[in-house]
Assembly symmetry: C2
């Protein structure tokens, strides 16, 4: 074979996704991009906050020679300090710079973590529906990706998680607010998950880590708060990014932080300083590290996403779609009226509406609608959404 | 185990390197950083060219909303186009944007390439001495790292490479100008290597790729040119970065380019668009892509590195060190007068001189001196270099 068999298999398996994207591109070429309603990508449409542009310009205008040099693998020390200070408040647990490692986004963070933790055959349990790239991240480092279903309302099914834990379990990986469901896990369910993992770690005599991928933490509505992971369980590791907070996903900047009381914190931090290097990241981009250091806690105006959510939810309810109104992220994950979600997505394409089948997130029988788009796109797509639903009712 | 056994082993094996770095840090703390002569890191000491700062400021001042969004995995199309246009001249082979994928530096590029190519057990042949991280990059993706010695003058030993090629060989990975030796491979030796790989590919009925890691391509002295890889062999892939050209290693920006006539070019490019995503890079940092697009062919003033090389080489020749004057990069790799290069490095530390043992580059019996440092550091270290040599002569 001229390319890796595993990579070829992924490419073949995902060829229907590619075909759908190609169909989307074809529709845009044929009808003009602005006449196609593209809800397929989680690419934030809000511009970065003004503070981001100002901080970037300020740093670029004043940075001296050496500003773009290598730095210690975990990142510029003062940047790690800023992040730790902010995290201490956010998570309600006192953090130090040494608990933080800056990364190329949350995807980079997860790969750095998994490479540091996984021995061949170690299992990582992931509740579904989920961001399907997790499967690749786990596989990259020789782990086994093991899914458990979530409850009907997409909250954590603790019994399912408990049943899946075994002597090979190294970690449970959660994502709240969730892509693709928009669900946020409650404080009670996280506390119960922490208790479960602590009990199972004792029983199996191995640390089972809780990995929390939380790039949507700041995108929650109706005054909700995303509960602290670190308060729920001390063998926990956070991975996140500034991609959604600041609408800068192309810059690849994020971090990972290990619970300050994690039993093997020093070893994990040292391992991650190695894995970020040998995976080829080396370090998170230097300039963006400096920029985000000054912007801790900042986010785009979340009310705008809430308005979009409400616009979409109201319209789709009228059109007969079934879903719980999601408390966070910028995704809606309604049920499809037919079992075949790919077919339903193809029907929507006939109305020039692009969405992603739930199967692509291990949540068949649903579609994911990314509503980080212009209000007009939502408003103008609603009649098409309705027409398609009527064909099946 | 609480961290991956493989990672733990690497950490333990490299503990002597860590000890040396710790000793260096201790010496700096004790004597003041400016009184310690640190030749241990390949961190360019020249500031980026003015054009870099100007382009960065210009782009930051004018970039509109959406400038920091996701883009196609291979990079901003206009950036890939700029790179392809420049590469066409540099390599002497007509390239298109579709042949280029922007990466997080050369280390990111190599991981993206190897993940795309390697099946479990596939071998990658690397001439030594070499940048020892290659071993990890190959291992990350299930490959076998296979070394072959170079000739006495660190040029390619084609017989050794031929003898190492077998039915599991997937690629030969070279690095010219070389870290740690500073050697540049001649056009004749590259042509002969290309012929060898073409013949062996036919014989073994599998494509054997030539991977060329060339972040030091622009750092050559005495009017030399680094020969084109693409002219030497059409199943070849370049990995490189702007880290050394522009003194911006912390920004993690580089690219990979596949020979436009490579038999499986489309498959490799598609595979790399997948592997850059699933390894967690997702894409090269957006802003820096735009900046380097406008700076094709630019580099820091190479004459300054040449002057530093000459200053160091003249001084060390006087002091009795043995080496060939290297034509490129910013490393000198002299022989140690004793077999134990680690012991010799420790002797240099007593003179507050920090270098790296050749063993760390699979080139025992040598030390690597990174002379990307202030002239004063070189001048003031020479007496110490001399005293240590005198102890062994």
């Amino acid at each position: 074979m001229t390319i890796a068999q595993k990579v070829r298999t992924v490419m073949e398996k995902s060829s229907w996704i590619r075909k759908m994207f190609e169909e989307g591109a074809r529709l845009k070429a044929q009808h003009g991009a602005k006449n196609v309603f593209d809800f397929s990508l989680g690419n934030p449409n809000l511009p970065p906050p003004d503070e981001f542009g100002n901080a970037l310009l300020d740093i670029v205008s004043t940075c001296g020679p050496g500003s773009h040099c290598y730095m210690p693998q975990p990142g510029h020390p003062q940047v790690c300090e800023s992040v730790a200070a902010y995290l201490s408040e956010e998570q309600g647990v006192a953090m130090e710079a040494a608990d933080v490692l800056m990364t190329c986004g949350a995807a980079g963070a997860l790969n750095v973590i998994l490479k540091a933790l996984l021995d061949p055959g170690d299992e990582v349990i992931v509740p579904t529906p989920c961001f399907v790239e997790y499967r690749f991240y786990v596989d990259n480092h020789g782990g086994e990706f093991r899914t458990v279903p979530s409850k009907e309302d997409f909250s954590l099914d603790l019994e399912a998680i408990e049943a899946a834990i075994n002597a090979k379990t190294k970690a449970v990986l959660i994502n709240s607010p969730n892509n693709p469901t928009g669900q946020v896990y409650s404080e009670e369910s996280l506390a119960a998950l922490g208790d479960l993992l602590a009990a199972k770690s004792r029983e199996l005599d191995r640390v089972i880590y809780l990995l929390s991928d939380e790039p949507y933490r700041k995108i929650v509505f109706d005054g909700q708060k995303v509960p602290s992971i670190f308060k729920a369980y001390d063998q926990s590791i956070v991975a996140t990014s500034y991609s959604k907070d600041l609408s800068i996903p192309g810059e690849r900047i994020g971090f990972t932080a290990v619970h300050p009381s994690a039993t093997y914190k020093e070893e994990i931090m040292a391992a991650m300083a190695l894995t970020i290097r040998i995976l080829g990241f080396v370090n998170a981009p230097s300039l963006m590290q400096r920029v985000v250091a000054d912007l801790q806690g900042l986010s785009v105006d979340i009310d705008i996403y809430q308005r979009k959510r409400d616009l979409l939810c109201n319209g789709l309810t009228d059109a007969g779609y079934e879903f719980d109104v999601p408390p966070g992220a910028f995704y809606l994950f309604p049920k499809t009226p037919i079992e075949d979600d790919v077919a339903f997505v193809q029907e929507l394409q006939k109305e020039l509406i692009l969405t992603v089948p739930g199967s692509g997130f291990l949540g068949p029988g649903h579609i994911r609608i990314a509503y980080c788009v212009d209000d007009d796109t939502i408003v103008n797509a609603l009649p098409g959404f309705k027409r398609v639903m009527q064909r099946f009712k």
